[in-house]
């Protein structure tokens, strides 16, 4: 049942079960404590007088991958799937190096499922980028991006990778997504 603006009670009126069911039972069932289920989840608004529980999920892969792809490519993740509204806050980090000096490499996050954010142009906007290093000398950087144009529903967030040229190596890859 949806939320109903709590009524104002008047002295001398008869309190009915319908009123208690609407204004006490049903409203309490719309409250954050009634929606809370999973430890560490957030409670977020879905609209006027409407709440939903959202998860914070993480995936980490510490093993390395090599790529020569010059367009963003799905390797072995990491990847998380969760229910979101039209927004999600994404935090990701990676350790990367290129086999040739002064050659850039990028890691970013693609979204599939209910939404589709997969083009090189889109992922380039918020990618982590490592450049200007001596060959095989790494950096480990992070990035934060607020997705604001998702289609509400089950969305899958996956780290993807590319390089300007030569072979890029990525280690210690972490992805955290906060559903909103």
């Amino acid at each position: 049942m949806a939320w109903t603006t709590p009524m104002t009670f008047t002295g001398g009126s008869v309190l009915t079960s319908a009123q208690l069911n609407t204004h006490l039972r049903d409203n309490l069932l719309e409250s954050e404590v009634a929606k809370a289920d999973i430890l560490g989840s957030l409670i977020v608004a879905t609209g006027t007088n409407s709440l939903v529980e959202r998860q914070i999920v993480k995936a980490t892969i510490n093993t390395g991958i090599d790529t020569t792809a010059t367009s963003f490519t799905s390797e072995d993740g990491p990847e998380v799937s969760l229910e979101t509204g039209t927004r999600a806050l994404c935090l990701f980090g990676v350790w990367g190096a290129n086999s040739v000096a002064n050659t850039w490499l990028q890691a970013s996050v693609a979204v599939t499922g209910a939404s589709s954010i997969t083009s090189d142009a889109d992922l380039n906007e918020f990618a982590v980028e490592i450049d200007g290093n001596t060959a095989d000398n790494p950096h480990r950087f992070g990035q934060v991006h607020l997705f604001t144009t998702l289609t509400a529903g089950l969305n899958t967030f996956e780290m993807q990778y590319r390089t300007q040229a030569n072979t890029a190596t990525f280690y210690r890859r972490e992805l955290v997504v906060i559903g909103l």
Binding site: W3, E30, V44, V144
Partner: protein
């Protein structure tokens, strides 16, 4: 109306309209569901037995700017949100200095209800690189001394010397 600690009902007592208005109506009106107005907003404690709806907002500017100033200048993007005394801010960009071994620096200032100048204490910088070789990364800062109200967060830039380019600039603010 503020929250009132829910009363304990006693068998045989008459429940009054005043009690229902205080313990049912007014307390329900203090819950998160009563305060929810906009999808994607979160709820934080604003004090004892009080919650407030807060926004997570962002702004992105793709275009490149060239900076030569040695003091922080205002070039955006900006985000304006209602906060309490705290906000968690993430900020980053693609940046490169056009002279080897020189640093481009980026930080965040606050205006509106609060005035906090951009400072190297929470800057993002990259040094020791060959000329025009970039990084793209982010920094984070928890502002803990804001004045509650409408605050504007502004990304700002400087160099120690020479000139630097900044592009794909993103600012994310979690109001608390």
């Amino acid at each position: 109306m503020a929250w009132t600690a829910p009363m304990t009902f006693v068998a045989g007592d008459i429940i009054t309209a005043s009690q229902l208005n205080t313990h049912l109506r007014d307390n329900l009106n203090e819950t998160a569901v009563a305060k929810a107005t906009t999808a994607g907003r979160i709820f934080v404690a604003s004090g004892n037995n009080a919650v407030a709806q807060r926004a997570i907002a962002s702004s992105f500017t793709a275009g490149s700017i060239n900076i030569t100033g040695t003091s922080y200048g205002s070039s955006g993007p900006t985000v304006t949100v209602t906060t309490g005394t705290r906000a968690l801010v993430f900020y980053g960009c693609h940046m490169r200095h056009n002279t080897a071994n020189n640093a481009p620096l980026m930080s965040v200032s606050v205006s509106g209800a609060t005035t906090i100048a951009a400072d190297d204490d929470w800057c993002l910088l990259s040094d020791g690189k060959p000329a025009s070789q970039p990084i793209k990364a982010m920094a984070a800062h928890l502002f803990k001394t804001l004045n509650a109200g409408s605050n504007t967060f502004n990304m700002q830039y400087r160099v120690a010397a020479g000139d630097a380019d900044f592009e794909r600039r993103e600012l994310v603010v979690i109001a608390l």
